[in-house]
Structure formats: structure tokens, C-alpha cells
């Protein structure tokens, strides 16, 4: 078993491809995707039965705002109200079966360019619905 210290997740985002790397501003990243379970239980069955339905998912990010060019605030402000292309990978090592690259789009329905109390870091908490299936690349 290969457990790991969660420290090197790579997050990229862009309008046409995942172009801009913002990993060094992300303090937490969670990608979840799932399928609807469509029940197909019928007479004679002794347990519920299901088949795969549509996929859905969510991207949760805790990210430090940064006003520099092509950084967090400018990037998210530029894609709000639209679909953005994203990718996440556990480490920056080469894409492989043990370090797959997850690619997907999100609908950016919100931004929080200004947040926080005096003396606190300006940290945005985002939760976006995926706007596509998740593509897992291993080579």
C-alpha cells in the first residue's frame, strides 16, 4: 500500500485548456465524481439492483487570492459565468497509472475576490459543479 502525504497536488485552469497553474495558491483541493444509480429492481429479485446513470461531480477548492497577472483573482474573475477547463493531479511527476491526470470542466458560477477579516489571509472557498465527464489520463 502506498499512502501519501498530501502536499503536491497540481491544479490548472483555463478557458480553452487548463493553461494556468495555481497550485502554489491552493491549500485544499477535492475532486468528487459519481454516477446516478438507476434502480432496475424487478419482480423476483431478492435485493435492489442498480445500473449506472449520468455522471456528476464537484470541485472544492480553498485558494489564496492573489492580484498578480494570471494569478488567482484575475483568473477566476475572467472565467466567472462561463465554463472553465481544469485539471488536477496528485503530484507533478509524469502522468502514469499511479499518478493519473484528471481533466474536466466546471461551471464557474461564483467568485470571491474580496474575503476575510482584518489580519486574515484572503482565502476563497469555492465549490463548483463539474460541467463535463472526468477524463482520467494514465499515459
Amino acid at each position: 500500500m502506498a499512502v501519501y502525504f498530501n502536499q503536491g497536488v497540481v491544479f490548472k485552469i483555463g478557458t480553452a485548456t487548463p493553461s494556468v497553474t495555481l497550485s502554489d495558491h491552493v491549500s485544499s483541493a477535492t475532486l468528487t465524481w459519481k454516477y446516478d444509480s438507476l434502480e432496475v429492481t424487478s419482480m423476483g429479485d431478492l435485493a435492489h439492483k442498480y445500473v449506472q446513470g449520468l455522471q456528476s461531480g464537484q470541485l472544492d477548492l480553498e485558494i489564496f487570492n492573489d492580484l498578480a497577472a494570471t494569478n488567482v483573482t484575475a483568473t477566476f474573475n475572467s472565467v466567472v459565468g462561463a465554463t472553465a477547463f481544469c485539471s488536477l493531479q496528485q503530484t507533478s511527476a509524469a502522468t502514469s497509472a499511479t499518478n493519473p491526470l484528471y481533466s474536466f470542466t466546471i461551471f464557474v458560477d461564483q467568485v470571491t475576490p474580496i474575503v476575510g477579516a482584518v489580519g486574515e489571509m484572503s482565502t476563497a472557498s469555492y465549490s463548483y459543479q463539474l460541467n463535463s465527464v472526468v477524463t482520467k489520463t494514465e499515459v
Binding site: 490548472k12 483555463g14 480553452a16 485548456t17 494556468v20 497577472a69 494570471t70
Partner: protein, 52 residues
Amino acid sequence: MSYTILVANLDGFKEGDTATVKELEPHGIEWLLSVGAIQSTTTPKTIKKDEE
């Protein structure tokens, strides 16, 4: 036409690189300009002697 890369976090490029339209098109040139990732590299006009 070419562009200068102004930032260090643009995938596949280093800050200060010069990139062509073809290289940047997949990322969306208008968007890269809008977020300050690139700037157009303008070629200074050559002044000929008879124009001076």
C-alpha cells in the same frame, strides 16, 4: 506575430519566452491577453535613410 510570456505559471512556457500565435492559440490568446499572461511583441519600424 509573436507574444512575450509575462508570467511564470503559464503551462509549457517560461517567463520571458517568445511564443507564436500557433503555440498560444490552444490556450485562447484573447483570454491570455485579458489576464495579463502575454503581450504582443511589436517589431520596431526600420527607418530608411531616405525617410530621415
